[in-house]
Structure formats: C-alpha cells, structure tokens
Amino acid sequence: MTPMSGYLLLSALLFSIGLAGALTRRNAILVLIGIELMLNAANLNFIAFWRYGPHPEALTGIMFAIFSISVAAAEAAVGLSIILAVYRHSKTTDLDQMNSMKG
Amino acid sequence: MPEMIDQIFVLLKHWLLAYVPAALQPIVSAVLSVVPVLVAFPLLFAITTVLERKGLGRMQNRYGPNRVGPFGILQPMADGIKSLTKEDIIPRTADQVVHFLAPVMLVIASFVVYSVLPIGKNMVLANLNAGVLFFFAVGSMVELSVFMAGWSSRSKYSLLGAMRAIAQMISYEMPLVLASVVVIMAAGSLSTVAIVNMQAGYTGIWPRWYVFTPWGLTGFVIFMIAATAESNRCPFDMPEGESEIIAGYYIEYSGFKFALFFLGEYLGMFATSAMAITLFLGGWAAPFSFLTWIPSYVWFFVKLLIIIMAFIWVRGTLPRLRMDQLMNFAWKFMLPLSIINIVGAGVWHLIPAGFTRWLIDSLLVIVSCVLLSRGIRRGKSFHVRTYRFAS
C-alpha cells in the first residue's frame, strides 16, 4: 500500500461519511455539513494527488483546493441563510416537515 | 559586544543544546524555545493587570491597588492565589465536557499564535512561510471557544454574551486581516520574520517602518481599532458588558477557569498588539539607527508595553458602544476604508518614490475617511444631550 492510497482511502471514507450523513440526517444544517464534508474529501484528494503526482511544481492541485475551499465557504453562507429563511416560514429545520409549497 | 547581548538568549540555547545527546536535541530545542514564551507572557499579563488597575484608578482620580507589596505590585500574586483557591462551580445543567474544554481551548489557541511572533532578532519559535495566515487562522479558533463557553453554560446571559462576542469578532476580523494586507503587499511575504527584516533598515537615522507611510498609518489605526474589538476591550466590550449581561460568556465560570479566561483574553490582546508591532512598527527594530545597541527583545517589549498603555488609556476614556453602532462602524466605515487603503497601497507602489505619491495616497485616505464618516452619520441627528436632573 503506497502512502497515496492511504490518503485516497481516507478521502473515500470521508466522502462516504458525508454522504451517509447527508442522506440519513433530517436536519437541514446537518445535511449542509455533510455536503461540506464531501467537498473536503475531494480537497484531500487534490492535495494528495498534488503531493504524489508527477508535476507538483504546477501547483494545480493546491489551486483547486483553494478555490474549492472558497466555493465551499460561499456555499455554506448561502445555504445557511436559505435555511434561516425557510425556518422563518415553516418554523422548522427538519427536512421531512418542509413539504408545503405554500409560503 | 552589543551584538552578543542582543543574541544572548540564542547563544545560551545553543550552548545548552551542546550538552544534550543528538537524539533528544529536537525536543530539548523546542522546550527551550517554548518555555520562555510560556513564562514571559503570563508574567507580562500579571504586570499588565496591576498596571491597568493602577492606571485606570489614576485616570479616575483614585489610587488603585496599593496594599499588597510596595505600591501594590504584588497584587497579581494575591489575585492568583485567590482564584486558585476558589471553589470551582459547574452549573448542574451545563454541558460538562464542553464547559471544561472551552477555557482550555481558549488558552491553547492564545498561546499557539505566539509561535510566529518574532520577539527579537533570530528569536521566533517557528518561521513559517505563511506566518501571518497562521496567526489569523489560529486566532479565529478563539471564536469557537467563546461559543463553546457561552453555549455550554446553559445561561441566557452567557449565550447572549457569546453571540455578541462572535458577531463582533467576525465583523472586526475582516478589517483586521484587510489592514494587514497592505503590509503583505509591501513586504511581498507572509512570513513575519521577512516582514520585520524588511523594516529593520534605516534611511539616515530614520527607520523604515511601514507605519511611516500613508497606507501604513491608516492600516495601523484600522488594525488597532479592530484589535481592540477582537480582544473585547473597552469601548468594544459589549460582549461582557458588566452592567447588562454581567460578564458575558464566562459568567458561569469561577475559580481557576475564570482566571484562564482572563489570561486568554489578555494573551489575545498581547498577541494582536505584537502582530501590530510586527506588521507596522518594525517588530524588534530600534526606532533610530543610533539606538541599535539596545537589544532587540528590549525594543519589542518596550513597544508592546506602549501599546498596552494605549489600550489602558482608551479603556479609561471611552464609553461602551451600542450593538448597532458597533456593527455600523465595522461594516460601513472600517471595511470600506481598509479596502480603499489596499487600493492606496497599490497606487503607492505604482508611482515612483517622491512627493506625489505621498500627496495622492494621503488625499485618497483622508477624502475617503471624511466621506465615509459622513455616510455613517447620515440620517442621524446629533444634538447636544440634555439631562433632566443634572444642572
């Protein structure tokens, strides 16, 4: 087992944890956190590939990770404000109860 | 000879390391570097508390503490013994684990930031490539510990205090980081050591500190205001407003944990002040070229003490800001001004050295400052307040 496969396995595990959380948890905030975890798993992959890839001097993996982190931040901000707005309407953050189309 | 006194601590460390077997050297070296920092700054904290209380007293025409030891200088010892021997009360409904972890995390985060601060020439714990970024990243962990403390106490006051503190810290972190961007632009490095080395030279007898430029001065002022808000000090002490929510997020803490919060808060203040010194005031560099014979660490601590004095002075003078004033000030004045300041710094580097760039940069800053201050006042009528019961 090479060092890189360790990182890749870890990232696969992280991705699955995020996916499981996003699929099974009912709270909207936790679903968002699960999605963040999946993004992080991808970031770990980028860094691992940059570190053990053939052209580390190109910095592509690092750049992708940086951009992905900033996109994740924007996503978290917008997602949480959407959750807040929804909460103001329906007084719940439980995704199962957000089933009404009426505002 | 001055060179040797300047480097005496570094030499001492190397001399001691020579007696240690090679296998243990990395660990011993780390311990020898970390322990002085762990001793020096809490000591500074002790000195600051007594100085602060005495200074505030004098500003209000009181004596301040003057009983314990000569002139009251042993007061921090008495305080320390008191807080150590006090009963440690944990509220029954509190989240025990989080309640315990919060002060620990705060103190650890406050100590870790010192690793990138150059205390003297060749005296820095870790010369990181991205030192400034590290400083702000670890500094942001303080917010989390504040949230932990406020939430785990299960008290309305502490939760309110924590929410206020976090809102304020997040709002003021932006100007804090943006104000330091101008220095990073000028130095071309995120390493604190490199930034100080850039400022350590002299033109004639005058130092090349970044504060002696229009953008540097603006950045320094913004940085200091934001640092005051970051460390929750007066006039930005809304989160712990004694008169409304008693002590804010650490209301439910007593004894040693309370002391830890107190320590963490002061350590945070020292760290941001030290960062301001590193970024704008030339770090350990002497203010004049003919004063370089005084050791670098002395200069660092002198500057630090001067900034602490300024903090105390401001605390003794200004009343507390209201929440809306606080937020308006952060988002409508500090943030735009710091962005304009970055533009100003860019313009400065484009124009060749001379009088023109001073003029253009100063004008840019002053005009935007005036316009923004007008904007923040718009829609508000300031009238002389009259008091019914005062003559």
Binding site: L10, R26, L37, N43, I47, I62 | -
Partner: protein
C-alpha cells in the same frame, strides 16, 4: 503510512463520524471542527501549508461559527424527535457503504499506475501568489465575483422580510 498519518486519519474519521451521528447539533458542529482541524493537519503533513491554514481559517473561523449561529437562530440545538422512517436511514447508510466500496476498490486497484514518488514538493506562498496572479487570474476573479454575490445574496436572504419589502 506513518504513525502521524494514522493518528490524524483516526481523529479526522472520529470527528466527522461524530459530527454526522451525534444527537445534539452543537456537539455535531464541535466534532466537525475537530475533524476539519485534523484534516488541515493532514494538509500540513502533505506539505500544503497555505491550504492547511486556509482550511482552518475558513472552516473553523467561518463555516463552523456560521453553522453554530444557524443552530442557535433556528433553535435546533436540542435533539429533535426522530421522524424519518428507519428503512430510509438504513437505505441511506447502504448507499454510502456501496459508494465507499466502489471508491475503495478504485483506489486499491488504480494507484499502482501512479507510483511517482518524487522528493517532497515545495509550495511556497510566493509561488502560489504568483500563480494566482498569472495562470489562475481568471478563476480568481470569478471566485471574487462569486464570493461577492454570495455575500450580498446571503445578506438579502437572511434579512427580515418586513425590512426587505420596505
């Protein structure tokens, strides 16, 4: 496969798994912070200093705090009554397991081809800055635009409805 890697991987997995399974949402956020910090430490171990610090700054300093704020403002800190049917939860976990199996198989079978193990690459902040300003200047600008849009959009979304209509 050093001991540090194993330790950091263990804390990452513990933290994130706790974040996805604890009942109390605030505990979830705190566990998430632990996981993300150890992930940042993994980045540092891989030599990506800048990304590691950015990770701490963004995730601990901003995302975790934002999530905590959202939890406080939606009053969902107390564990809610579980409403979802258990079969749904089981199927969700099964899907995740299958995904992990597929990914794991791909990693196991595919990395043999990529055994390039050069010396530890350097990623000085200077070079990252230069790259951001030259090769990656367009993505940088777009990210800036995106962040501005997100800032304004999030502000408007979270604003009081009564104030928005005024």
């Amino acid at each position: 496969m050093t001991i540090t890697f194993l330790l950091l991987a263990a804390t990452t997995i513990t933290g994130t798994a706790a974040a996805m399974s604890l009942k109390n949402l605030v505990h979830c956020v705190l566990a998430l912070t632990l996981g993300l910090v150890s992930l940042a430490a993994l980045y540092l171990q891989l030599g990506a200093q800048f990304v590691g610090f950015t990770q701490i700054l963004v995730y601990v300093g901003a995302v975790a705090i934002l999530a905590a704020f959202a939890i406080m403002m939606t009053r969902s800190a107390e564990p809610a009554v579980l409403t979802g049917s258990s079969s749904f939860r089981v199927s969700g976990a099964l899907i995740a397991l299958v995904v992990f199996a597929v990914l794991g198989w791909a990693v196991w079978s595919g990395t043999g081809a990529l055994a390039v193990l050069g010396p530890e690459p350097e990623a000085p902040v200077n070079e990252i800055g230069v790259a951001l300003m030259h090769r990656f200047v367009l993505p940088l600008e777009i990210i800036g635009l995106l962040l501005t849009a997100a800032l304004i959009g999030a502000g408007i979304l979270a604003m009081d409805e009564t104030r928005r209509t005024k």
